[in-house]
Symmetry: C2
Subunit: 212 residues, 2 copies
DNA sequence: GTCTATAGCCAGATAGAC
DNA sequence: GTCTATCTGGCTATAGAC
């Protein structure tokens, strides 16, 4: 399973430095906040030199999107067959939440999330990637898992898709909260265990008598 | 209870037209997307004429923020004493969700929500307003209500604040989804009853045997 | 209150020498 | 591949006539 075309970029090359600088600047100020001037200054070259590596600013953005979207979830659960793990019930959900928590507190993934949110209202392509990765992918996986749990009578019967959304929405909400706190350098101690608490609460909400 | 200082602006005045145009443009392109040029063209005056009504662009933005934040929730539930209604249990939650649904599908409030989200990553003041209105206010009201419901044994015992967040997060998530669909002119039929379904699911999750 | 005119800045991008 | 120099255009804002 080749990870969706992630471009080959030599480490320590100027091209890579440009991308790193652009990611940093876009995380802070979005697409328009990362001007070619600023990127060039951060890399230590002139603006015109950038054009030896990228046709224009948009190509930089496209490359970043491609690379950022290639890793994050793939490594964690896409590969493994869900069926085997869904029957573990709460343990599966705990692992799921732990993964999101990991992404939430990982600095590279935080930058990624921040760029996405900064451009969400400005760029249709970003919206589509957002819907795909922060909605469809997760809901598909989770609803499958819930369906299996229902079959094994681990949880009460309900619409699996609704249940998936109800489980996922708070995770997204907490992730956003953490991001907002980080941006303003506020402490996130109050949120440090919220992901686990969410799973506890949710499991109490859906578990059958037998499995509880 | 005077509604937080909402400025007096004469209807049909040039000042009001400027604000209307600015809201429209900022909903589409955020703060930077709404240039003084575009605002002036939309109103039908020259850029320089705007400065007879506002000191600078930021003052326009501030005025918009003040006015937008003055109405939305205030009218709905801030005024009424929660205690009397919380004991209605599910009916209270249904009304709460219905209110959010109303705001979600109301075009003025949608623009407001869109501007907030567009500037969320760029502007600390917006982040604080966001946290206040889309988090603290709602969580405070809801956790109070849940506390009362617990006292009346309508719902199972749990941390009221956690429960409030778990109830609110999906509402926020669904509102965001609707917004994203609207921006790209996609149908929201699949989401038309999701707010009610959320309440159903949630109530089944927390209701005690007696109250169910 | 609105206009014309203009200042000053920063943006993205290109040409051509080295 | 990097540089200097330059172009074009959008931006916020001000001065001063009407």
């Amino acid at each position: 399973m080749a990870t969706a075309v992630a471009e080959e970029i030599k480490p320590n090359s100027t091209k890579e430095k440009i991308l790193t600088a652009a990611i940093e600047l876009m995380a802070e100020g979005g697409y328009t906040g990362a001007s070619m001037r600023k990127i060039a200054r951060k890399v230590g070259i002139r603006e015109s030199a950038i054009y030896n590596h990228f046709r224009n600013k948009d190509e930089i953005f496209q490359t970043i999107m491609k690379n950022l979207f290639s890793n994050p979830f793939e490594d964690f659960f896409i590969k493994r067959p869900i069926e085997q793990y869904a029957i573990k019930g709460k343990a599966y959900l705990l692992e799921y939440a732990a993964t999101i928590k990991l992404l939430t507190f990982d600095s590279k993934n935080e930058k990624f999330f921040r760029i996405i949110l900064a451009e969400l209202m400005h760029n249709q392509q970003v919206r589509e990637l957002f819907m795909q990765y922060f909605y469809q992918e997760n809901i598909k996986k989770l609803s499958n898992a819930f369906f299996i749990m229902m079959q094994h009578n681990l949880i009460r019967s309900a619409d699996p898709i609704l249940m998936a959304q109800e489980f996922f929405a708070p995770l997204f909400y907490y992730r956003l909260q953490v991001l907002l706190m980080h941006i303003d350098n506020k402490p996130t101690t109050a949120l440090s265990t919220i992901f686990e608490k969410h799973v506890d609460f949710f499991w109490e909400s859906v578990a059958t008598q037998e499995s509880f």
